[in-house]
């Protein structure tokens, strides 16, 4: 049994905080020595993964670096050269793999992504005041040390409805069901969230899929930068700011929902594989089920074996693409090394369904995916399962919701049955519901590694 050193792992890596507000700060390291001092002063404030015996703190703080940031902090060449290619190259250079082309091309990203981004700081907070206080504190540390310059602050917040934070995103879907269970994490295994065992049960994935320094699903240690101590208890993160075209989504759903015999709500569910309240279509194909959504032992507990033709949950729907479970056979073995740990929070103003929405308003999701190999996990899922359909025998169809549909000629097939309320349906001329506004790859070191970086004592020999 893997025992995790929770004092050494950043809290953000080990689990989602489930705070309603966050600020993601992007900064540049101005100078190696002063930059190290900045990292040192941040490190003593970083939230680790240790248990919150006295309840949730008012806020949390975590940190990650781009490859350029690590170079700026003076890591030795032998260490820098030991990082994976995709991390060295950064997200912009991976645009053809990620499908960030056309309007999503890095040339069209927000201006900050053209700057030298070295550091990512994540502040999560219970209240807006606390968030502002922690963000100000980071700005003060940058100024006092002279080590870093703030380039951009991305505010993010749960969607508030009637004054209460919800798990809704701007299209109206309840988001964030399930993250992969892995060995060593302090919670009970939730059925549907780890990997399938030959007897059809769910077990936690190997720790090394998500945290460096532990055996992975191939029973190997994941590739780690040198020295080993720099990598162990750390992980990589893909950060993507995804804009949501809320008006286009509503317009399209109104138009096609009027033609679809199951109606608009059901068509929205077919896009994602869950009703907007989160009920999995696989378990409740005809109607949302509030009790089912609330029950963690059931709301991610399903496989696609009873639904090989996608008559309940379409084969091209978002959740069936991003996490195919047993859909590719071999008892799920083909997906176990393609799992990502998601962290995400909406940003921008929420427009209630009864008010007119606009595409160009500032709203979307900050999507973050964690894992020990960006190439094998995040990039593969994005390239092969989201932006392509061959593995699911869907030709070159893409994810209807988050895929990039150039030319407007893409389609989404809703499989169905002879039931008149569940007939097959083709959604053609898909517009782009989601647009990429910028992103980068970050390394999230352990607390030990942060101290080594701050000390300038990273030694690859």
């Amino acid at each position: 049994m893997v025992k995790l050193n929770l004092f050494d792992i950043q809290g953000f890596v080990a689990r989602g905080y489930n705070f309603p507000r966050a600020g993601f700060l992007l900064a540049e390291i101005l100078d190696c020595q002063a930059g190290r001092e900045f990292v040192r002063r941040v490190t003593v404030r970083v939230t680790s993964a240790e248990r919150w015996e006295r309840g949730k703190p008012p806020s949390t703080l975590n940190i990650g670096f781009t490859w350029k940031g690590l170079r700026q902090l003076g890591l030795p060449d032998a260490t820098l050269l030991s990082f994976p290619d995709e991390f060295y190259q950064g997200m912009r250079a991976r645009k053809h793999i990620l499908g960030d082309v056309g309007k999503n091309d890095p040339a069209n990203w927000e201006p900050v992504w053209k700057e030298d981004i070295h550091v990512w700081l994540a502040v999560y907070a219970q209240t807006a005041d606390e968030l502002a206080r922690r963000c100000d504190e980071m700005g003060r540390l940058m100024r006092e040390t002279g080590g870093a310059r703030l380039l951009y602050t991305q505010p993010a917040s749960a969607v508030y409805i009637n004054g209460e934070p919800t798990s809704k995103e701007h299209f109206g879907y309840t988001d964030g069901f399930g993250n992969p269970d892995y060995e060593g994490v302090e919670r009970n295994t939730v059925p549907g969230q780890g990997k399938l065992t030959p007897d059809g049960k769910w077990a936690p994935l190997a720790t090394g899929e998500f945290i460096l320094g532990y055996p992975d699903e191939a029973r190997e240690l994941p590739a780690c930068p040198v020295p080993y101590i720099l990598g162990i208890n750390g992980t990589y993160m893909a950060y993507r700011k995804l804009h949501e075209n809320v008006a286009s989504f509503r317009r399209y759903l109104d138009e096609k929902g009027a033609q679809y015999p199951g109606g608009k709500e059901k068509l929205a569910a077919k896009f994602v594989g869950r009703w907007t309240d989160g009920t999995p279509l696989e378990l409740s194909p005809d109607r949302p089920d509030a009790d089912l959504v609330k029950d963690p032992s059931r709301n991610t507990n399903f496989t696609y074996a009873p639904d090989p033709d996608g008559a309940r949950c379409p084969i091209g729907s978002h959740i069936r693409r991003a996490h195919p479970r047993d859909a590719f056979g071999f008892n799920g073995d083909l997906v176990n090394r393609r799992r990502i740990m998601r962290r995400g929070l909406p940003y921008g103003e929420y427009t209630p369904p009864d008010q007119p929405a606009r595409d160009e308003d500032e709203h979307g999701i900050v999507f973050m995916a964690l894992g020990t190999s960006l190439f094998r996990q995040f990039e593969f899922v994005q390239q092969q399962w989201i932006a392509y359909g061959n593995d699911a025998r869907l030709g070159n169809d893409k994810d209807p919701l988050v895929g990039w549909h150039h030319g407007g000629s893409d389609k989404f097939i809703v499989q169905g049955t002879a039931d008149p309320r569940n007939t097959p349906f083709i959604c053609g001329s898909l517009p782009n519901f989601v647009e990429m506004r910028g992103g980068e790859y970050f390394f999230l070191p352990s607390l030990t590694a942060l101290r080594l970086i701050a000390d300038g004592s990273v030694d690859p020999r």
């Binding site: 033609q259 015999p261 389609k411 097939i413 349906f425 083709i426 959604c427 053609g428």
Partner: protein
């Protein structure tokens, strides 16, 4: 026969490339330059040879040393590899190459040892078969259909998807009328051009 599955043939030919140290540009280098410039997709000369599902030409210099103990091995010559997944019989295919694209065949295989010329298709086919090796395993993607049948099926899929999208929800009578018109239009279309990359409707 491992080279053949129904009407599908997986062809592999290794033709030794002439080694002539007196030349200013060696045969293998000249061949590489020629192959790099050969058009692909719909413009590929092999699209004119009706049985070609897919084919590939590669210049192989030598084997690469892998692993220990270090037994160094070398090929006796540089080779031109010609792979083709083709429909129908081998003799007919090779002879069609000689007849339909004689210039390309000549420009390629005249760099190879023992090439008899292209004027006699039977002699060319016999020469090619002398250099054939067993394929054993090849890409099975067309279910034994001809190139034309495959392209037509792909276009039918695209067209039928568009038809459903335009007509879903119509009454049975309307649907039947629209489908009859659609089918007539589709049936009368000439076959798609070989090598076409995008099949539109």
């Amino acid at each position: 026969v491992a080279n053949q599955n129904g009407n599908m043939y997986g062809l592999t030919i290794l033709s030794p490339i002439i080694d002539d140290p007196k030349l200013k540009i060696s045969h293998d280098a000249a061949l590489r330059i020629y192959l790099e410039r050969l058009p692909r997709h719909a413009g590929s000369p092999f699209a004119k040879v009706s049985g070609t599902h897919m084919c590939r030409l590669v210049v192989m210099d030598d084997v690469v040393f892998v692993g220990s103990p270090a037994t160094e091995e070398h090929l006796k010559s540089k080779y031109l590899i010609f792979n083709s997944n083709l429909y129908g019989g081998l003799d007919a295919y090779l002879q069609e190459m000689a007849r339909k694209i004689p210039d390309v065949v000549h420009d390629v295989w005249s760099h190879c040892v023992g090439y008899p010329g292209v004027t006699d298709p039977q002699a060319f086919a016999a020469y090619m078969k002398k250099c054939q090796i067993e394929t054993t395993f090849y890409f099975a993607d067309v279910n034994g259909k001809t190139v034309e049948q495959t392209l037509q099926a792909l276009r039918t899929k695209v067209a039928f998807t568009a038809f459903i999208e335009e007509n879903q929800g119509r009454s049975p009578v309307e649907l039947q009328r629209e489908f009859a018109a659609f089918w007539e239009r589709l049936r009368k279309l000439p076959p798609p051009a070989a090598g076409a990359k995008e099949l539109t409707w």
